[in-house]
């Protein structure tokens, strides 16, 4: 082997360092129009009137589109995974977050596009808005989503459940119960390249879409679904992106630009300004996480109850997926035999939240790891040894019954301790991820352990 493991130069390094990498904004097509959007100034409002006729008549304006122009306006990014559609491409009768696109224009130049947006006549009737997920089920909470305050489609439940073992036993047995609440904030992806699309209508009727998407086939599917065309009517050109971090998994600019190009019969480019990016691009979700851990005085994690509220913003987008992933990983890098997890996707009048680096699990790490440090502090134990003692090991099972085959909690923790000169007891420094036995396999962990060779337990745990 020569290439694998080698410090080979970047495939695109020379292009990057000579300014020759071609991003969407660098593609030049003659006759390209400029797109701009009319966005909601309100967090929550009914649209009582919209009239685009003055904008359409402005010299230099080539297309104006609203919800009425979209073949299938309401589509869900995760319909294939069973998440029903709830989000309109262009707002129709109602806006649910500030910055939500209501209409878009394509014009010969940017100043005309700005004028056209300003010439669209629109009237709103403001409605009460909700921003605190903890208040989503308050009796007086405003009604902001057609599904109600929380996403209701986790099978028969309105929340994602993870249950394993006997959590009542664990809390009964515990010497100490440590409770904490953790609140990661909304975060911008903030790539240097803002959302952008350039759409060229071909003579054949196909659309060529220059895209900054992180997910070419995913975006192809989303565009084709909104336009109600087969996949061969749209060609995406991309693969080179000026930073994504999850925000460009959303198909943000492409589809509306397609509608404008189809209506104008001209190439159209829509590059979001940085202000639009900060105002209306999706964010990492804010979360509210409450943990109760049942622990023994000698540092065994006996059981965990965890409640998570995930702020979806105004529409579901990927939130049910992210929350499920969060629930699957809610024990972190540790084996906890008895767990009871409930997670809710709560709607607010914020911009829809979406995937971002570590989606669903970053929030687990932020909550669970600080909780682990707290537990160690409360029990008067070393935070290193608490983690090593409860570390994932080969043959342990996760909260959702997956058998661990190559866990590395122990090697990474020991390597970090060694690097900073942390002195640990010999029983810890000698640890490996090998299967539990002896003192590392107390009675309460025996039931969760999988037989040798098993990959998934259909029914693991104490019960």
């Amino acid at each position: 082997m020569k290439a694998v493991g080698a410090r080979l130069p970047r495939y695109d390094g020379l292009a990057h360092t000579t300014g020759r990498t071609v991003y969407v904004d660098d593609v030049r097509v003659a006759g390209t129009l400029v797109a701009k959007a009319l966005r909601s100034p309100h967090h929550h409002a009914a649209i009582t009137r919209i009239d685009t006729s003055k904008a359409e008549k402005l010299p230099g304006v080539r297309a104006v589109v609203t919800a009425a122009d979209v073949p299938k306006n309401v589509y869900g990014h995760l319909e294939a995974l069973g998440v029903p559609a709830d989000e309109p491409l262009l707002a129709d009768g109602e806006v649910r977050y500030r910055g939500q696109p209501v209409a878009a224009v394509a014009a010969e130049d940017v100043e005309t596009a700005h004028e056209a947006v300003a010439a669209i006549e629109i009237e709103y009737e403001e409605r009460p808005a909700l921003f605190d997920i903890r208040k989503g089920l308050d009796p007086d909470a405003p009604s902001i989503h057609q599904w109600g305050p929380v996403y209701p489609h986790f099978g028969p439940y309105n929340h994602r459940r993870v249950r394993k073992g006997d959590v009542e036993w664990a809390f009964e047995k515990a010497d100490v119960i440590v409770e904490g609440a953790y609140r990661p904030a909304a975060i911008e992806h903030c790539p240097l390249e803002t959302q952008i699309a350039l759409v060229v209508p071909e003579a054949s009727g196909r659309l060529t879409v220059y895209t900054c998407t992180q997910a070419m086939y995913f975006s192809l599917g989303v565009i084709a679904a909104h336009l109600q065309v087969p996949l061969n009517r749209v060609k995406l050109i991309g693969g080179t992106v000026g930073g994504g971090f999850g925000g460009k998994v959303d198909t943000a600019a492409e589809t509306i630009t397609c509608l404008l190009a189809l209506k104008a019969h001209r190439p159209v480019k829509w590059r979001w300004t940085r202000e639009e990016e900060f105002l209306a691009s999706s964010t990492r979700a804010p979360w509210h996480i409450e943990i109760q851990d049942a622990v023994s005085n000698d540092g065994w994690m006996l059981g965990r109850r965890m409640l998570t509220l995930h702020d979806a913003g105004a529409y579901a987008r990927f939130s049910p997926y992210g929350l499920t992933k969060h629930g699957f990983h809610h024990t972190g890098a540790y084996t906890i035999p008895n767990v009871h997890f409930d997670g809710f996707v709560v709607f607010t009048n914020r911009v829809p939240t979406t995937a971002m680096r570590g989606f669903g699990v970053t929030s687990v790490s932020m909550a669970v790891e600080l909780q682990m440090t707290r537990i160690a502090e409360t029990l008067g134990l070393s935070p290193w040894e608490l983690r090593l003692k409860n570390a994932n090991r080969i043959g342990d099972t996760t909260a959702n019954r997956v058998v661990m085959q190559d866990p590395s909690t122990v090697p990474v923790t020991l390597a970090a301790a060694e690097r900073v000169g942390e002195r640990l007891g010999p029983e810890y420094t000698a640890m490996t991820p090998a299967r539990r036995s002896g003192e590392l396999l107390p009675e309460h962990l025996a039931a969760q352990q999988a037989p040798e060779g098993a990959h998934v337990l259909s029914n693991g745990g104490r019960s």
Binding site: V110, E111, H114, T273, E275
Partner: protein
């Protein structure tokens, strides 16, 4: 209106600039452009049909020794290199070297309050230094104290020509900022010992910088730094914005004042 429709004037001297400015009605003054250019790019051309670009008006330069005059178009990079404290430290604290190479003293002085964060990073230093502002406009040229000028700012149109100040005996400047060149400082405190005593001013505690008169009185009465700083929030009404809350500003202002005064006194 469209920026492309504006009538652009580029006066070649101070006199031409004053004439072109007239009474300032319908005129947008373009100094360094660090605030104005993004507005133009985003289709928000501010006011009026005429833009007065001062780039070639010869309004830059730092002259004098005891009594110092700094031209309105002097770049912050040059102010920062001037050694005239506390102005130099304040100028060096603005944004990053590229912005400082373009932003001007006059532009900074006339910057309207930002929607999301404070602006006018130099105001506290100018207040502390007891500067005066020479400007033109309706009624002709005149010189105001910085306190008067800021008090009337945005209620009348003035073309700033220069700032004048006596070099303070001692001065100190301290800002509280996140380590981000692109972010405005949360708060800044400047203090200077002049012939008639110590002046202390703070930026970031209101829409524009203010003198901390109660602190100055306490110092005049012989109070030690920390004791005088206890009065820092007297008459100050901090605000919430994207950088910090009013609560935070109230809590930390005395600390910042103490540290600035200790720096002033400790050398």
């Amino acid at each position: 209106m469209r920026a492309s429709d504006t009538e652009l004037a580029m006066p070649a001297s101070a006199a031409e600039a004053v004439e072109a400015f007239g009474d300032g009605r319908g005129v947008t003054v373009f100094a360094g452009g660090t605030i104005l250019m993004p507005e133009i790019t985003h289709g928000r051309y501010p006011t009026g049909g005429r833009t007065l670009m001062l780039t070639r008006a010869g309004l830059e330069g730092i002259t004098g020794d005891g009594r110092i005059e700094i031209g309105a178009m002097t770049r912050l990079a040059d102010v920062a290199a001037s050694g005239v404290e506390p102005l130099a430290s304040a100028a060096g604290d603005v944004a990053d070297p590229e912005v400082r190479s373009q932003a001007t003293l006059g532009g900074n002085l006339c910057a309207p309050p930002g929607a999301e964060s404070p602006r006018g990073d130099l105001q506290a230093a100018l207040l502390a230094a007891g500067a005066s502002v020479r400007s033109a406009g309706a009624g002709g040229e005149r010189t105001d104290s910085i306190d008067e000028f800021l008090g009337r700012a945005h209620s009348e149109a003035r073309l700033v020509l220069a700032v004048e100040l006596e070099r303070p005996r001692r001065a100190a400047y301290l800002s509280l900022r996140r380590a981000h060149a692109h972010s405005y400082a949360v708060m800044a405190v400047a203090c200077a010992e002049l012939a008639d005593g110590i002046r202390v001013a703070a930026a970031g505690v209101g829409p524009r910088a203010v003198r901390l008169a109660a602190v100055e009185r306490a110092l005049a009465g012989g109070a030690a730094a920390a004791q005088a700083a206890g009065a820092a929030t007297d008459g100050v009404t901090p605000h919430d914005d994207a950088l910090a809350s009013a609560w935070y500003r109230s809590q930390v202002l005395p600390t910042l004042v103490t540290r600035a005064l200790e720096r002033l006194q400790g050398g």
